[in-house]
Structures are given as C-alpha cells and as structure tokens.
C-alpha cells in the first residue's frame, strides 16, 4: 500500500531537494509530493509578498513626506511662528521649541524614575515577588492608551491649576517614558557580569557605590540607548498633549502656560481647512520623522557597539 506520505529514498539517484521523485514511485505518491513541494513554493511566495506589502507603505509614506514637506523646509520654517490665517509664510518654530521644552521636562522626571526602578529590579529585587509584580505592572502601564495618560495628567494638574500648561504635558509624557526605561535599564544591568560586582564588593566598596560606579557605569551605553528609545517614542505622541499642553500659536517658554508641541500642531493643521496650514503640517511631519529616524538609527548603531563594549 502506497499510503505512506513520506518520500522514500530513491535508489534511482537523487533528483535534488526541489524536484519530486520521479521513477520507481507510484502515481499517488508522486502527485502527493508535487502537491507538497508546490505548497512549499506557494508559501514562500506569500511570505515574500507579505514582506513586500509591508515595506511598500513604509516607503510610500516616507517618500510622500519627503516630497510634500521638503520644499517647505526653509529658514523661515525654523525661525518663525505661524502666520495669521490667510497669510502665507510663517513657520513652526514655536512648536519645535515647545516640543523641546515639554520633552526636557518629561525626561527630567521620567528618566531618573525609570532608571531607579530598573536599578531596583536588577540589583535589589532579584528573585523577589515584589520585583515580578513591578515588572508586570510596568508592562501594564506600557499598554495603557496614551490618551488615558492625558486624562490622568489633566485631572492631576490642569484641574488643580485651572489652566493648561507645559508642566502637565511633561508629566503625561514622563509617565509614558517610565516603563520603557525601567525595562531596558533592568535588561542592561543584567548583562553586567556578576564577577565585577564581586570585585568591587571584595575591595570594600559599599553596595550603593558599587551599583553607581560599577554596574551603572558598565551598563551605561545600553541604558542611554533605552532612554533614547523612550525619548523618540514620546517625541511623536500627540494624544496626551491634547488637553494638557493644549498648544499655543505664539512663543511660550513658561512652564505654567499652554505650550505648542510639534505633533500637536501637525494634528491641528492637518484637520484644518487651510492649504497653507497643510503645507506646514507636511513640513512639520518631515522634521518630526527625521528626528525620530535619526534617534532610532543611532540606537541601532550604538546598541550594536554598546553590546560588545559592556561585556567583559
């Protein structure tokens, strides 16, 4: 009975892996083999097709951005605030500066908190239940929609103060940075070989000093990478800023006033009916994406070197 679906070694010589066995086999076995190899090729083709279908929108988006935005990137764009409706020209300088301010605020709160939590997980919490719970909660926090963070910051700060502010926007973004930084800090600290911690402890260096001067110092390339990743991620966030930073058509440097932010401004311009603002939106999107891509690429390069550098 030739119901065995597996190909048998053919004494007539090897026909190669891609061609079904020919002579000596029964017809049904041959057909079965042709079918199986056919499916194999089909799936390979589908996999390649999927990859192409995925790359195509990426390239399309980036190319279109470049096409629509590049022409508007002039000095005016980076130095002027938006012109009144109906007038041409103007720029998004206040949004770029505003984003920088809000991100600096967010980083100053989120990075130390995230690194400290990561230090706890790696250096003090090993094996403890609490550490597992913290890790799980950090993942949960990571999955919360960013707009909910905006609601939280709104309730915490905007309602108390009675107005929108850069501070509330910074807080919303800081909360979003913490889980990413915590996890990468923990991962990087775990790559530090235990032997050098022991070397420091054996010299009579107190544990806290060991953590700072040995563990953190050795893992610092990776930790910086993690911070850059978190930074790049929140740099493009709009939803949490919608009702915290709120946006501002003019220059603003105060932390207690509404402030413009690049992604926020892009959103406002994109849904507006004015062509001039659409033009600015494209340029702003191009700037934003260039900034993010540079960070992501730097991270890729740095992490490649950093991984080798930290190990010993």
């Amino acid at each position: 009975m030739n119901s065995n679906p597996l190909p048998i070694a053919t004494p007539g010589g090897d026909n190669g892996p891609l061609r079904p066995p020919t002579d000596y086999q029964s017809r049904s076995l041959r057909l079965n083999s042709i079918w199986r190899y056919g499916v194999n090729h089909l799936v390979t083709g589908l996999a390649v097709l999927s990859t192409v279908l995925v790359i195509v929108p990426l390239v399309a988006i980036l190319a279109y951005l470049l096409y629509k935005g590049a022409s508007s990137l002039n000095l005016d764009f980076f130095t002027h605030i938006p012109a009144p409706v109906g007038e041409t020209g103007g720029g998004m300088a206040n949004s770029i500066v505003g984003s920088a301010i809000v991100l600096a605020l967010a980083s100053s709160m989120g990075i130390p908190l995230g690194i400290a939590a990561g230090v706890y997980l790696a250096e003090y919490g090993q094996g403890k239940m609490l550490a597992m719970a913290v890790r799980f909660t950090a993942d949960v926090l990571n999955g919360i929609p960013s707009i909910v963070m905006g609601i939280a910051a709104y309730s915490l700060i905007v309602i108390q103060q009675g107005h929108f502010s850069a501070l509330s926007g910074g807080v919303a973004l800081a909360i979003m940075m913490v889980p990413t930084i915590t996890r990468t800090t923990e991962e990087m600290l775990m790559t530090v070989p235990h032997a050098i911690r022991e070397a420091a402890l054996g010299l009579g260096v107190p544990k806290w000093r060991t953590v700072i001067s040995v563990s953190l110092r050795t893992a610092s390339p990776g930790i910086i990478t993690g911070c850059m990743l978190a930074f790049a991620r929140v740099a493009g966030e709009t939803a949490p800023l919608l009702f915290t930073a709120f946006g501002n058509q003019f220059w603003s440097f105060k932390l207690n006033e509404p402030i413009a932010a690049l992604p926020l401004q892009i959103y406002v311009y994109a849904i507006s009916p004015y062509d001039e603002w659409h033009r600015l939106a494209w340029a702003g999107a191009l700037v934003l994406i260039l900034m993010i891509m540079v960070s992501v690429t730097l991270v890729r390069i740095y992490a490649g070197r950093g991984a080798l550098k930290g190990a010993s």
Binding site: G127, G202, K309
Partner: protein, 252 residues
C-alpha cells in the same frame, strides 16, 4: 603587615545545603596557608566567609566565630570594614572593563573617596611593582583599558588592585587556575614574595602549587576540614587516611 585568623565552629549554608560543617582553624599571620581538597568540598565557601563575601548571596548564611586578630568579623565590624582590610583575588580575573589600568588598580581607593593624587600615583606604582606588572604596563597606565591585557596580566593587575588598599590578609581563590603555565609560575613567585608581608590564604586544586608556596596546608573534604598542618607534614606524613588517599591520587 599580616594578622592571624582564628576560626571557631564555622558553619555555612547555601539555602538548605550545609556547605561548611564545624570548621575550626588557626591561620598564622605572615604565612601562606593553602587549602586543598576535591571540587565542591567547600574551600571557596570557606574563604568567602573570611571576608564576608559569602553573605552577598541572598540565600547564604553563616554561623560561628571568625576572628581577625582580636576582631570578631561578624559581630564587631561591618562587612565593608572587613573587606577593606582583607583583599581578595578571584578565580577568573575580573578587571573593571570601563576603567584604565591606573583606575583599576586605584579603584579600591578611588571608589572609597580617596582623592590625593600624589599618593594614588605612588600607590599604583608600588602595587604594580609588587605584582610584577609594572615594567609591562608603566607606559600605558591611563590609556589602556583594564580588560585589554592578557589573562595572566589581568590576574596580576587584580592582585595589584587588592594590594593597593594595603590589606592585612590576602585571600586567593584558585588564582592561577584559569592561566597558562608561564603566568602561573609568575603568580606563584609573587605569592612567595608577598607572604612575608601579608597573611595569605590560597585555595588551590593543584597540590604541587600548595607544596611550592605554602607553609601550612589544610585539607577539606565534603564541607569538613579533615587535617591542618605544616605543608611538609601533610604531604609526607599525613595523619588522616583520607588526606593520604587524596594526596596520592586515589580520588579527587
């Protein structure tokens, strides 16, 4: 200058594993003492109890009295204090990868806040000379990273690092086991020279090494110390049959 170590009724556990059972021992000052025994018999654990490194493991525990001179290291002092007086050299060299050779050797001082540059320079030079590494690295002290040296050089640098803090006791856990024969013999020469200034405790798998460098030897087996005597006596006329079996190679 070295100091003697007196151990009484030392017991140690890793979790539920009773690694050291009632060790009693007197390590004389300014001498080298070797600890031999088969793998897993507790020699490394014992040595780590002497500078309280054993307790850095969260599931580790120790009871008993260990006295360095007059100081009960578990009751009268903090672990950090003890470790500043006892230097340790590990089985595999563990230089700090982000620091230069100079910073590595000076790390015991710099990481504890010592700032006087003149004394640091002089200490680094002195320690590297004592570790017989000075001639090889003196031109690249601050340029080369500690991790870029060869294995034998790294281990000698770790010895220099341990010496730089001016310890009274030097603990060495199989310092030459990961090294080639040339480096090994250099390190044995080193121990021979250093033992008159420090109390040295060296754990070794290599009985010939123990015979070469140590005045006294202790034989550990399954967490107990079977015999402790002068090296001559242990290797020529051991009192315990188990010691004799181990030395003549019947097991281990």
């Amino acid at each position: 200058m070295g100091v003697g170590i007196n151990v009484e009724h030392l017991n140690a556990w890793y979790g539920t594993n009773h690694t050291l059972q009632d060790i009693n021992l007197n390590i004389p000052a300014n001498h080298a003492t070797a600890l031999i025994g088969p793998s897993g018999c507790g020699k490394s654990t014992f040595v780590r109890c002497l500078n309280r490194m054993h307790e850095t493991n969260p599931i580790a525990r120790a009871t008993g009295v260990v006295k360095m001179g007059e100081v009960d290291i578990y009751k009268d002092a903090s672990p950090v204090d003890i470790r500043r007086r006892v230097g340790m050299v590990f089985q595999r060299p563990n230089p700090f990868p982000t620091m230069s050779i100079y910073d590595n050797v000076a790390s015991g001082l710099k990481l504890n806040g010592f700032r006087n540059k003149a004394i640091l320079d002089e200490t680094v030079e002195r320690s590297l000379k004592a570790a017989a590494l000075w001639e090889e690295v003196k031109d690249e002290l601050k340029k080369k990273s500690g991790a870029s040296l060869s294995g034998g050089q790294q281990q000698r640098m770790c010895i220099a690092r341990a010496l730089a803090v001016d310890p009274e006791v030097l603990l060495m856990d199989e310092p030459a086991s990961a090294l080639d024969p040339v480096s090994t013999s250099k390190i044995e020469d080193l121990i021979f020279q250093l033992k008159s200034q420090y109390t040295i405790v060296i754990v070794t798998h290599n009985m010939q090494q123990a015979a070469r460098v140590a005045e006294n030897t202790g034989f550990f087996l399954n967490g107990k110390m079977v015999e402790f005597n002068s090296t001559d006596k242990i290797f020529t006329t051991p009192s315990d049959k188990r010691t004799e079996d181990y030395i003549t190679g019947r097991f281990g």
